[in-house]
């Protein structure tokens, strides 16, 4: 017996099966969309906001994170944990994970942070991990402008190294990557970021590696 094309009367169960298949496909698509949408949000809300970065040499800042004009990503990032960003007008925070040449900062190298002072009521330089959190315990290291011995060649001259150094020294862990956070308090810097050149901020020069 040859089965010919399906007759009109035969299509009922097939339509129902087709409808079930469509419903199941739609449910799978919705599930995948939720996973993709929420997953991408979780990925984008990492340690730093995905938008609004301002880069000056190796330093990066997010000036709007401390203002009412913070974008939705920045706001969501702030809402995910207890953050108290410096408000615009209160100060500015700059992060660096690389030296001036773009190489990652690592404990196996020594660096020199060198530059001229910037108008502010005070500033601090701290060593942080790659999540931009201050190191704790014996690894904690930070200094302020008041700790500095000024030199004739530059207002700011700090050796960043795991080995003890003469003059201004900021200790870093012996191995692994790290970051630097430079904060200026009560400074007009945030308002004039657009007019600044990278040379305005301290440079991060690599001195030697593999010591």
């Amino acid at each position: 017996m040859a089965l010919g094309p399906l007759s009109f009367q035969d299509r009922g169960p097939i339509r129902a099966a087709d409808g079930g298949l469509k419903t199941r496909s739609l449910a799978v698509i919705i599930l995948l969309a939720l996973i993709a949408g929420i997953g991408s949000t979780a990925v984008m809300l990492g340690e730093r906001p995905p938008l609004g970065a301002y880069r000056l040499g190796p330093w990066q800042t997010f000036p709007r994170i401390g203002s009412s004009e913070v974008d939705p990503y920045g706001r969501a990032l702030l809402a995910r944990g207890p953050h108290l960003p410096l408000a615009v007008g209160e100060g500015i925070r700059l992060n660096a994970r690389t030296d001036d040449a773009g190489a990652p900062l690592t404990g196996s190298c020594s660096y020199r942070v060198v530059g001229n002072s910037i108008p502010s009521r005070g500033w601090t330089l701290a060593v942080v991990d790659l999540a931009d959190r201050a190191l704790t315990g014996p690894d904690a290291a930070a200094l302020s402008d008041a700790d500095l011995v000024t030199s004739e060649s530059a207002d700011i001259l700090i050796t960043v190294s795991s080995r003890i150094a003469a003059g201004n020294w900021l200790r870093v862990p012996q191995a692994g990557r790290f970051g630097l956070v430079l904060r200026f308090y009560d400074t007009p810097l945030a308002a004039s970021l657009g007019q600044l050149s990278p040379g305005f901020l301290p440079r991060i020069e690599r001195i030697i590696c593999g010591h």
Binding site: M1, A2, L3, G4, P5, L6, S25, I29, L32, A33, L34, A36, G37, I38, S40, T41, M44, L45, G66, S68, V70, Y73, G74, R75, A76, L77, L78, A79, R80, G81, P82, H83, L84, P85, A87, V88, G89, E90, G91, R93, R121, G122, T124, A126, D132, R133, A134, T136, G137, A140, A142, L143, S144, D145, A146, D147, V181, R183, Y185, D186
Partner: protein
């Protein structure tokens, strides 16, 4: 029993007809795949945007939510590191001292006042769900005191309507877009000897009802 393996091709079957049918099937399959991917992309985009916007709304881990009950006795509460020296604030500068007061404008406006000292001091307003809406430094202190009133829009308008001539000039009014938030006093510790003074300065911030 003869069963035609391809009922769709039960009509006079020639090579070209089979190719056409096969082409139609694959084309409709491709169209279905494109539709499914477009639907997936659109829904994922919607889920992404909604999740980014909803994170601040339902935030429970942000700084304002965490410290909402701080300063219940109308005096700012010092934010202290835990036993391991880890600050509860993710982006804290170890060379600062911070004290906070939580507020809920449903209980009425809040009057904030702090005395300027020898170390740089800033006061900022962080709303629940993330975002800084106001900041002032001790440079703006009048006779050594920083003072302002935090209100919501309705309270601001009611107060303005009650004002006698000149009342509005006597107090600084800050409108908070959210009912709940925290007032943050932050003082810079430029030298270790500054720390006790900085702690006393930020802890002395008063934040009581403004009537």
């Amino acid at each position: 029993m003869d069963i035609d393996p391809n009922p769709l091709a039960a009509t006079p079957s020639t090579g070209s007809a089979r190719r056409t049918t096969h082409g139609l099937c694959s084309r409709s399959g491709l169209a279905r795949l494109v539709h499914a991917l477009a639907l997936l992309g659109t829904l994922a985009g919607i889920a992404h945007i909604l999740s980014v916007l909803l994170v601040p709304r339902y935030a429970v881990f942000d700084a304002a939510s965490r410290f909402l009950s701080a300063g219940a006795d109308a005096r700012a509460e010092l934010v202290t590191p835990d036993g391991n020296g880890v600050s509860p604030i993710l982006d804290a500068d170890d060379l600062t001292e911070i004290a906070v007061c939580g507020y809920d404008l449903a209980d009425g406006p809040l009057r904030v006042s702090a005395r300027a000292g020898t170390t740089p001091l800033a006061i900022s307003l962080h709303i629940r769900g993330g975002g800084v809406v106001y900041a002032v430094t001790d440079r703006a202190a009048q006779r050594g005191v920083i003072e302002f009133v935090v209100l919501n829009r309705q309270q601001f308008e009611e107060r303005a309507a009650r004002d006698d001539d000149g009342d509005s000039q006597r107090e600084l009014r800050v409108v908070s877009p959210a009912l709940q938030g925290i007032v943050v006093a932050r003082a810079l510790v430029r030298q270790p000897s500054d720390r006790p003074g900085a702690q006393a300065l930020v802890s002395a911030m008063a934040c009581g009802g403004a009537g």
